[in-house]
């Protein structure tokens, strides 16, 4: 995954600032050093001239006493040194232990300990006085460093301030991208309307327009899948409804047993096809529309009552006793139609597979947090291995020729449970002895 624009831009700005600070530091240091070298030379020369003027104006015997005050010591080092010569004879040397060379030697530097002094010589031929003044180079060095540090510190403070402003400006500049990303990512899956291009800056409008075009195509695709499912349902169910309705109007009592058997076969085939159509439609719906079904608040107990009432005629036909236990009211917020497919499949399967004269019990219990729905039956049950096999598509649960089904229901149930973050747990009913499938909210 590539780095965010903000990080990339900010990192580049940071590197540019660090490099320019380093270059500035070097440039300022060189410049200040050069300036101080000149300044040092100038100061030394002027000092030497002043000392020479004073020495020339004074009687020779008073020079030693007037210059007797020693130069200032700093950490045992001298900031400056002075030597006055009458001809070749030194009449004043500070400090006295230092052998300051005669000006005629034209020595320009003198080392004392760790110090190096820059020497400047001045002579007055009329009085034969010679003056040598030395200023410590370290003073100049530390002064230049001090100036460099002050300059760089001011620059750094200004730079950090600039960096903060740059960061803020980049963030502000990128905010429309974040807002656009939020507008897309926080959308409910069933909201496929266009984004408003007027709310985005000009630079982002091509992205908004491209996103809108994609949303339109997605909406059209979902719409046509929905329309296909609805049309397919209509086309497949209508003739089945016709066959079943017409067969129910036949006067069975006027028919012989063979004809009655034929009618029963027609009816059971039509019913079987009806179930298959329902499961295929559920399958199509679950895979094309699951993500766009809205979350709604509803009473889960009411849904269970409705589904069991709908399934009751099948139970009555198979002489299966059904019962609903547990809570009367339990409000949930889930995609109602998807949960309905899950529970309808579980209830229908339990009734179908528990066998004639069997017992199906559905229990709704509150969990902390969430809920548990148990669908138990008194049928032969299902081993773990068979259950895993059954939740694969198109695996029929039973071999009994009287029981029709092709196992798509459990596969759809498993898929939808995963989609809704529900757990589908396989087990054996302790009280009824058959299969117990539980749906748990996680």
């Amino acid at each position: 995954m590539s780095q965010p624009i903000f990080q990339k831009t900010f990192r580049r700005v940071l590197v540019a600032i660090v490099l320019s600070t380093a270059l500035l530091f070097v440039a300022v240091t060189l410049h200040v050093s050069s300036e101080f070298k000149d300044e040092l030379r100038s100061r030394t020369s002027h000092t030497a001239q002043i000392v020479l003027s004073l020495a020339a104006a004074m009687p020779l015997d008073t020079i030693a006493s007037d210059f007797a005050e020693q130069p200032i010591f700093v950490n045992d080092e001298l900031d400056y040194i002075i030597a006055i010569f009458q001809g070749d004879t030194p009449i004043y040397v500070s400090p006295s232990d230092l052998a300051i060379p005669h000006p005629s030697s034209e020595t320009s530097q003198l080392h004392r300990g760790a110090h190096t002094y820059y020497l400047m010589h001045e002579s007055d031929p009329s009085t034969a006085l010679h003056v040598t003044v030395g200023l410590s180079k370290s003073e100049a060095f530390f002064s230049s460093i001090e100036i460099v540090l002050v300059t760089v510190t001011i620059f750094l403070v200004a730079t950090l301030l600039m960096l903060g402003l740059t960061r803020h400006a980049i963030r502000q500049g990128l905010r429309p991208i974040d807002q656009l990303a939020d507008a897309v990512s926080q959308r409910a899956p069933n909201r496929l309307g266009h984004l408003n291009p007027d709310q985005s800056p000009t630079e982002l409008q091509p992205i908004v327009l491209a996103t809108n075009a994609l949303l339109s195509r997605l909406k059209d695709a979902l719409e046509s899948e929905r329309a296909f499912a609805a049309n397919a349902a209509h086309e497949l169910r209508t003739p089945l409804a016709g066959i079943l309705a017409q067969s129910k109007t036949l006067k069975l009592e006027d028919m012989d047993s063979d004809a009655q058997k034929t009618v029963a076969l027609i009816q059971s085939s039509a019913e079987r096809s009806t179930r298959q159509v329902q499961q295929l439609l559920d399958h199509a719906f679950a895979h094309s529309q699951a993500s766009v079904v809205p979350f709604t608040e509803f009473n889960l107990a009411d849904m269970l009552r409705r589904l069991m009432t709908d399934a009751f005629p099948s139970a009555l036909k198979l002489d299966v006793e059904v019962e609903l236990k547990g809570l009367d009211v339990f409000e949930v917020c889930l995609p109602e139609t998807l949960l309905e497919i899950i529970l309808r499949n579980l209830i229908d399967n339990a009734i179908k597979y528990c066998g004639t004269g069997g017992h199906v019990r559905v229990t709704l219990e509150a969990q902390n947090p969430g809920f548990q729905i148990k669908v138990e039956d008194s049928g032969p049950g299902l081993s773990r291995q068979d259950f895993e096999h059954a939740i694969s598509r198109f695996e029929r649960l039973g071999d009994d020729a009287k029981i029709y089904g092709h196992g798509l229901g459990l596969a759809i149930t498993r898929d939808l449970c995963e989609h809704l973050n529900l757990s589908l747990i396989h087990g054996r009913s302790e009280q009824l002895g058959g299969l117990c499938l539980s749906v748990l909210s996680v």
Binding site: R226, A229, A230, A233, H234, E235, L236, R237, T238, P239, L240, A241, G242, I243, L244, A245, Q246, K248, T249, A270, E271, T274, L281, F285, R305, M308, T309, F312, P313, L316, V322, E323, L324, K325, G326, E336, T337, E340, I341, V362
Partner: protein
């Protein structure tokens, strides 16, 4: 009870017509609702059975129009469309009941009767169930010809179950027929009436489906 069936499939319509006539109910059939006026519906029919998947004009559109025009005629919607999406829409638009194709003809008939009764449009009749007879006009119940005393509400509950024998009736459905939508019944009212019926008739007639409701099983 006059019923209007709006269904474009002739095979289904023929079966419904035949079943309703066999049960003494007159039924008119239209294959479309394109020229149907609200006045026609209100004046002539007690119940409308409406298919949603009509070719010319959508059944939902027709339902929406008559409800916006103030029609209160009970409408039972049935459709072959995918149920989970169509049911909510139809009920939200003012359908009184809903069935998915394929449907059971007895179930359709029972639901139409219930809707017509809610509108007060069912003529007095004598219902028979095993050795019981119930006269809806005189509110009389007889077991083996012997008069049985029941309170008016217990009589109504027995009538609902006898009219719809073989069909599960939830507590909410019974309460709705007894009190309508507007009045809240006491939580155990239906149980009290069922208990009265069992006390007077014996326990073998009304079966409890635990957690769901009651039914009178088909005598066969």
């Amino acid at each position: 009870m006059r019923t209007l069936l709006i269904e474009d499939d002739e095979v289904i319509a023929d079966a419904v017509r035949s079943h309703f006539r066999k049960n003494g109910i007159s039924l008119d059939h239209l294959t479309d609702c394109i020229d149907l006026s609200l006045d026609d519906v209100e004046r002539d029919f007690d119940v409308v059975v409406l298919d949603l998947g009509l070719p010319q004009r959508s059944g939902l559109d027709f339902l929406k129009t008559i409800r916006l025009d103030g029609s209160t005629v009970p409408v039972l919607v049935f459709t072959a469309l995918y149920a989970v999406t169509a049911r909510v829409e139809a009920l939200n638009l003012g359908a009184d009941d809903y069935l998915t194709k394929p449907f059971d003809l007895d179930e359709l008939l029972a639901r139409c009767r219930a809707l017509a009764r809610r509108r007060g449009q069912v003529k007095p009749a004598v219902l028979t169930y095993k050795n019981l007879t119930l006269e809806t006009g005189s509110c009389a119940v007889r077991k083996d010809g012997k008069m049985i005393e029941l309170t008016p509400k217990a009589f109504q509950v027995l009538r609902i179950l006898m009219e719809n024998y073989g069909r599960l009736y939830t507590k909410a459905m019974i309460e709705e027929q007894l009190y309508g939508w507007d009045r809240e019944a006491e939580s155990n009212t239906v149980e009290v009436f069922i208990s009265q019926i069992r006390r007077q008739l014996g326990a073998e007639y009304v079966k409890t489906v635990r957690g769901l409701g009651y039914l009178m099983p088909s005598p066969s």
